[in-house]
Amino acid sequence: MQEIIVKMGDLELTTKPGVILIAPSLGSCVGLAVYDQKSRIAGMVHIVLPDSNVKHNLNTEEKIGKYADIAIPALLGKMLSLGSKRENLIIKIAGGAQMFNLKGDSSIMNIGAKNIEAVENAVKGMNLVVNNADTGGNTGRTLKLNAFNGNFYLKVIGQQEIEF
């Protein structure tokens, strides 16, 4: 099996059955994995921030998977344009954690929660639903998707990997 590491801001799409997509060490970032059960297309994004409008002038070299508002339509739109049908897509998300104890009042502190909300809204905006989610809390996670059989896996730091 070939492992493809989906790093921060990366967007990956594969039709190769021998591939495992992995979004490692998700802290406040949210990983979204999507699988088309019929055509066996697998996709993943590793989202860092909720909204691309945070940058007044978006760098043209910015990674497409960095912001939820751009990443989700890009990934899901690509799958639909490749012939995927909405009813065949399974979507799962993980991540969006935050620091346990917060002093002060800064927007940075709830980035995890904002990422989760932005991802869920963007998925809804594509007339799709999130089938399973493991989000929030104070722990890091790794999300995996096996493109051969569409199995999703979740590993919470310090725990065993589970099917999810």
């Binding site: 760098n59 935050q98 346990f100 800064s106 927007s107």
Partner: protein
């Protein structure tokens, strides 16, 4: 049950000590009369370090068109400040690049986490015009040195520490101190002191989770502490080599915002976006030191 603090400190004596040359180089650089000759002699005495230093200087990161072949040549080209961070980085690797079981860190995790914190610290230092960004790099790199020893004790007491975190709503470091007798910051500072680290590094190791306490203790360089405190947070939030304890810590944003306008509330998401663009630099640094 509290472990005997003396016993833990005794363990520190058995830790593979790789920092003596870095400390000597650091002290020599603080001496106004130091020369390139003195420094190169000191470094050349350690063959493995010399080989790694030259290899790193010849990596694409520095882009020298002519190959660096001697330590003297390397120092002349990269300068004293970069030399110091480079030596600390090279000698840290063997200690940090190992499995740290108690914190749930696999081999390579703490190393990646430390390099990330170093790179982010240097970036933040430049952003707020801190006078020595390379010092910030070294401080970010070494902040978690106490975990190298304490992890064995954390492993034994993990369930109890986690229970206390939830029961008393305290941070992981506070629970470490209550259960084991001292936390990884305090232990790291004791070890760093024993190894004659500069005071400024001992302070960042000791207070990186608790800058408010450093203020009470009148630490010399509060800005450096605030930089490392925030870089530590960014490293964890962005998931670079995070362990079981990482998010069970505290972030003091009032303290971070006191560093100035670039780190104010409204710039935060934009800042994170820029910070993520440093990740290829982190990857290069890690692969150059393979």
């Amino acid at each position: 049950m509290k472990e005997n603090v003396q016993e833990i400190l005794q363990k520190a004596n058995n830790l593979q000590y790789n920092f003596h040359i870095a400390i000597k180089v650091s002290k020599l650089l603080d001496d106004d009369n130091a020369s390139i000759n003195d420094l190169s002699k000191l470094i050349e005495a350690d063959q493995a370090l010399t080989v790694k230093l030259l290899k790193h200087c010849n990596s694409a990161e520095y882009g020298f068109s002519k190959r660096v072949t001697t330590v003297k040549d390397a120092i002349a080209r990269i300068g004293f400040k970069i030399l110091k961070t480079m030596i600390f980085t090279i000698v840290s690797k063997s200690s940090f690049n190992q499995e740290i079981k108690g914190y749930g860190l696999e081999k390579g995790d703490l190393w990646r986490n430390s390099i990330s914190c170093a790179v982010y610290s240097r970036y933040l230092a430049k952003l707020i015009d801190y006078n020595d960004p390379d010092q910030a790099f070294t401080a970010g790199l070494l902040r978690d040195i106490g975990k190298l020893i304490l992890h064995e004790y954390v492993r034994k007491e993990y369930d109890e520490i986690e229970r206390l975190v939830n029961k008393e709503n305290i941070t992981f470091s506070e629970a470490e101190e209550k259960i084991i007798g001292l936390n990884h910051c305090q232990l790291g500072a004791l070890v760093a002191d024993k190894w004659n680290f500069p005071q400024i590094l001992i302070d960042t190791i000791k207070y990186h989770h608790n800058p408010e306490k450093a203020e009470q203790d009148e630490c010399e360089d509060m800005d450096l502490l605030r930089i490392v405190h925030f870089a530590d947070y960014l490293t964890v939030m962005l998931g670079y080599g995070i362990g079981k304890d990482s998010m069970l810590q505290e972030i003091d944003m009032d303290c971070v915002e006191s560093l100035g306008p670039p780190l104010c509330n409204e710039n935060m998401e934009s800042l994170i976006s820029d910070i993520v663009n440093l990740n290829p630099e982190i990857e290069h640094l890690i692969s150059n030191l393979e």
